[in-house]
């Protein structure tokens, strides 16, 4: 998985609680992404980062925030979890040499259940 570690791998939480998912990479890749995977929707981009402290919204960013204080770490926070945020969350990275069309490397995912 190209040196990408997601933690935790599984989490069960209650509606209204804050949740933070962590992505750690050892590849020194510039770009990092958070996707969610849901049946019938495929993979949808939540937020992405193109450098330390440089982040932007993706297709489904409502209810999520991110932070990137170091090249290797990208955090995804659900400020107040809802049942609709039950999903599998994937972190991905890309080298970031080219501005586009780069290969994405994915972590193994975090299964999040919001009860």
């Amino acid at each position: 998985d190209a040196g990408i570690t997601q933690s935790p791998r599984h989490k069960v939480t209650e509606t209204g609680t804050p949740v933070t998912l962590r992505c750690h990479q050892t590849e020194n890749h510039r770009y990092m992404y958070w996707y969610r995977q849901d049946p019938g929707h495929g993979l949808r981009l939540i937020h992405y980062s193109y450098g330390v402290k440089d982040t932007d919204k993706g297709e489904v960013s409502d209810g999520y925030s991110v932070s990137r204080s170091k090249t290797e770490d990208f955090l995804l926070t659900l400020e107040s979890a809802t049942s609709s945020q039950t999903s599998v969350y994937f972190c991905a990275t890309a080298l970031g040499v080219d501005i586009t069309n780069e290969k994405l490397f994915f972590g193994s995912g975090t299964q999040l259940s919001v009860l």
């Binding site: 019938g40 495929g42 501005i99 586009t100 069309n101 193994s108």
Partner: protein, 113 residues
């Protein structure tokens, strides 16, 4: 708004057969079309990709066919094997997006003996 439509949702193919998965896109600015393969419990991994300057790209048993005028592209898996059983995602991207892929909804392929 689904910018990349993928079909079928699931596919069962006998060992040795040809698996075909189709995708259609709407945004004519897309200029990069990768396919990702995902095994259960794992993240997706790049399988093969094509750019619109060619109509076909082949890597081993995997071939992408691309039809620019129809805004469609497909993945063909020749001599399908049980080890090919996985979920396949098509995707699309265009220049200047920091590699923000738009993915299709996925196809679960099962190759039977």
């Amino acid at each position: 708004q689904q910018q990349v439509k993928q079909s079928p949702q699931s596919l069962i193919v006998q060992k040795g057969g040809i698996s075909i998965i189709n995708c259609a896109y709407e945004n004519t600015a897309f200029d990069y079309f990768p396919w990702y393969q995902q095994f259960p419990g794992k993240g997706p991994a790049l399988l093969i990709a094509i750019r619109p300057d060619v109509s076909e790209k082949k890597e081993g048993r995997f071939t992408i066919s691309f039809n620019k005028s129809a805004k469609q592209f497909s993945l063909h898996i020749m001599d399908s094997q049980p080890g090919d059983s996985a979920t396949y995602f098509c995707a699309a991207d265009y220049t200047g997006t920091a590699s923000k892929l738009t993915f299709g909804t996925g196809t679960r392929l099962q190759v039977t003996l």
